[in-house]
């Protein structure tokens, strides 16, 4: 494992991510990661709030129109996250909080798929308000994404090994 991390950190790309002083390197990658977070978590939060009963005039299934915004956010963060990971692989892989963050994101994405399925069934004749099940999913989703954001922030404070050479 350590040999792999040493090799990864010695590659030109990884070194560039860490050491470039260009504003288009690390600062730009972090900015993309923050905007993508806002889009992905923001759309999830809006859907969850609707399922909890807020903004009742919004037809639930129509919220599905914002799905592409959520997916743009997800792909922005997958790409920028991978670049950050290539820059500091040891820092992430040796920190248990990183795995917690990934698990919370996976759970959040799963809840998104289940929630949107609920959205699509809403508004069918015979279904009026959100079902209790939908409310539970929505609350779980909000908690999950808040957890993903928090563990993401904590990565900066909980890392105990920054580079494989240390």
């Amino acid at each position: 494992m350590n040999d792999f991390l040493l090799w990864l950190e010695s590659t030109a790309f990884s070194t560039w991510v860490r050491e470039s002083t260009s504003v288009f390197a690390f600062p730009a990658i972090l900015s993309v990661h923050a905007i993508g977070m806002g889009l992905a978590v923001g759309v999830n939060a809006a859907i969850a709030l609707r399922l909890l009963g807020f903004a009742p005039g919004v037809p639930p299934r129509e919220l599905h129109r914002f799905a592409p915004v959520m997916w743009i956010g997800v792909w922005m963060n997958t790409a920028s996250g991978l670049v950050l990971l290539l820059g500091y692989p040891t820092k992430a892989f040796t920190n248990p909080v990183f795995y917690m963050k990934l698990a919370l994101i996976a759970l959040g994405m799963w809840l998104y798929v289940v929630m949107t399925r609920q959205l699509m069934s809403e508004g069918r004749p015979g279904l009026s308000g959100p079902e209790p099940n939908a409310r539970f999913l929505a609350a779980a989703s909000l908690v999950c994404w808040a957890g993903a954001v928090t563990t993401g922030r904590l990565l900066a404070y909980t890392a105990h090994r920054i580079l494989a050479t240390w």
Partner: protein
């Protein structure tokens, strides 16, 4: 301007109990998490509303989607409250930081832009029976809003990379003494 900056730094540096709380192991990380969760709520409510004004999700009544805006304001309050805690703890790192100046400029403009929406287009766009299509001016305001808020986020992320260099013994307020000389 330099006098105003010195006054700001010295005023914030007086909030020592806040700084002491923020310097505990959990203070800064918790405030940062609140700041980022607030950002997500703000984007979730405001970006979706702006996108709706531009034309995405036309079957959602504009007035109905506007009911999510209070959640965006809650998000803004979360970022504002935690942001002030950062400012009170490390005033030098913000008051003399060009990225922070830019961020405040973007934020103030976004505020005026939102005000322009409420003055010119809110009633027309959200009246019962209003057309699906938002007025042209509302669309322009929505594009400006998206651009300005992205500017706020990006300049916020750039803060760390434009920190002023310390030029004296460290501690909150230290730059107030050395930077005016530095500028002369």
């Amino acid at each position: 301007m330099v006098d105003f900056q010195m006054w700001l730094v010295q005023t914030f540096a007086r909030a020592t109990p806040v700084a002491a709380m923020m310097r505990t192991a959990w203070g800064w990380p918790i405030a940062e998490s609140v700041h980022f969760i607030g950002l997500c709520l703000l984007v979730g409510a405001i970006f979706l509303f702006d996108l709706r004004l531009i034309g995405l999700g036309r079957r959602i009544p504009i007035g109905a989607l506007h009911k999510l805006i209070p959640w965006g304001l809650l998000g803004f309050a979360m970022t504002g409250a935690s942001g002030i805690l950062f400012l009170m703890t490390e005033p030098d790192q913000y008051v003399y930081n060009p990225a922070f100046h830019l961020k405040m400029l973007f934020m103030a403009t976004a505020g005026l832009n939102a005000l322009a929406f409420y003055i010119t287009s809110y009633r027309k766009a959200t009246a019962p029976g209003a057309p699906d299509e938002a007025p042209r001016l509302a669309k322009i305001i929505a594009v400006a809003s998206l651009t300005l808020w992205i500017g706020v986020i990006v300049s916020g992320r750039l803060l760390t990379f434009y920190r002023p260099f310390p030029c004296g013994p460290e501690g909150p307020g230290f730059l107030a003494e050395c930077l005016p000389n530095y500028y002369r």
